[in-house]
Structures are given as structure tokens and as C-alpha cells.
């Protein structure tokens, strides 16, 4: 489970790529690793993704894994999505256009 502060750090790191959805995925993760699912409007290059990973690793002191929602393997997709904790969803933005963050 992610704290509000951790969620904010992840959202901020991904902001330049206009995220539509970000989730924490506890599926198959060990205690030294954190996995995040992402869906961006703006395509990041692999180096952009690596920068995000290195930044989050520095912030959280843990190995970070980033997985695009569209690239989750079909074999485990259902299980991953069932357990995923979505903490940013653009479709749930308020009328004032601020970001509504769902805390789990």
C-alpha cells in the first residue's frame, strides 16, 4: 500500500507524460521491489522511463519496475488488474480540473 506522499511523488515524476492512469501493482512483487502500471498520453522514450525509474528508486530506496497497462501479459493481466491499486485516474478529475487522488 502506498502512502499519499509516495503517490504524489509518483504522479509528479510521471506528470510530463500526461498520465491518464497510474496504479501500484503488488502482484508478484517482493519487499525490495515496487511495480507501477502506467498509461500516458505522451509517449516516453525508453530513456524517459529509465529516468523515472532511477528517480523513484532514489526516492523510495527500492527497485522500481514500470509496466505499461497495454503491455501486461494477457496470461496474468486479469490477476494483475484485480490487485492493482489505481491512485491516479484522469477520468475522475473534478470540475475544477484538479487531480483527484484515490487513496487505498
Amino acid at each position: 500500500m502506498l502512502s499519499q506522499k509516495q503517490q504524489d511523488i509518483v504522479i509528479e515524476a510521471m506528470k510530463p507524460f500526461k498520465p491518464t492512469k497510474i496504479a501500484f501493482s503488488p502482484f508478484d512483487a517482493d519487499e525490495n521491489e515496487m511495480e507501477f502500471l502506467y498509461d500516458f498520453k505522451k509517449t516516453p522514450s525508453l530513456l524517459d522511463l529509465a529516468r523515472i525509474m532511477l528517480f523513484l528508486e532514489e526516492q523510495f530506496g527500492q527497485k522500481i519496475n514500470l509496466v505499461s497497462f497495454n503491455r501486461i501479459h494477457p496470461f496474468i493481466k486479469e490477476d494483475i488488474l484485480k490487485e492493482a491499486q489505481i491512485f491516479f485516474d484522469e477520468s475522475k478529475r473534478t470540475e475544477t480540473n484538479s487531480i483527484e487522488i484515490t487513496t487505498h
Partner: protein
């Protein structure tokens, strides 16, 4: 920089040249992203050549001091090595769009910066000769 390290770095830089030449050769027929997204064989080749290129960067990283990495920080050493690990261990489940952007943007930036670093490595021979004379 020791002679052996210098030699190893120059060898790796030659490997990178060869990988990037192949990358351009095998992706020459791609003129826009949409073509790349439907061309799986080219995606596989590009992914492999990018992995090989960044593996060579990883080896170079072992041989240079942090101060030199800092001096040539426009080459994002750590980021490139991270990509290599992620591709090699197949844990990087990225969009193919991202691979295309790396081929176009990240590789282009690397090609712009590497000659400066190569020039520095080549200049180290003069330094080594100079050091010997002083000894």
C-alpha cells in the same frame, strides 16, 4: 586512465559504431512511426541492437571514473545501462512507441555526444606518453 582500460573502451566504442550502423541499415525503410509499429521483425532487430549498444555502454561505465562520467554527463550513462538491464531481463513492458522514440531521439542524442567522449579517450594516449616521460 590505464592503457588496458583505454584499449577496452576504444574497442567498445568501435562495437557501438558497428551496432548503430546496423541499426540505421535495418531501419532505413522506416519513414514514420506507424510503419515501425506494424513491423515486428524490425522491432526485434532494433530492440536487440539497442540492448547491445547499451551493454557496451555498461562495460565502458566500469572503466571510467565518476568524474569523467560527470564531465560527459550528456551521455546519460546510468539511464542507458538501466534500459539495457530492463530489455535484457524482459521486465521492461513498454509500448513499442517508446522503442521507436528511443531509436529516433535517444540514439540520435547518443550519436551526437559519443564523438566528444571518443576524442577524450583518444587524447589519453598523449597523456599516458607524457606521464611515462615524467617517470
Amino acid at each position: 586512465m590505464k592503457a588496458r582500460e583505454r584499449k577496452r573502451i576504444l574497442l567498445k566504442l568501435r562495437h557501438i559504431d558497428a551496432f548503430l550502423k546496423k541499426l540505421h541499415q535495418y531501419s532505413r525503410h522506416i519513414s514514420k512511426k506507424e510503419e515501425f509499429l506494424t513491423d515486428e521483425p524490425t522491432q526485434i532487430i532494433v530492440s536487440k541492437l539497442i540492448e547491445d549498444t547499451f551493454e557496451a555502454i555498461r562495460v565502458i561505465c566500469r572503466d571510467i571514473r565518476p568524474q569523467i562520467k560527470k564531465e560527459y554527463s550528456k551521455i546519460e550513462w546510468e539511464g542507458l545501462v538501466t534500459i539495457r538491464h530492463q530489455i535484457a531481463h524482459e521486465s521492461f513492458q513498454y509500448e513499442i512507441d517508446s522503442l521507436y522514440d528511443t531509436m529516433i531521439v535517444d540514439i540520435h542524442n547518443l550519436e551526437r555526444e559519443l564523438p566528444k567522449f571518443k576524442k577524450y579517450v583518444l587524447s589519453q594516449k598523449k597523456e599516458m606518453v607524457h606521464e611515462k616521460k615524467i617517470e
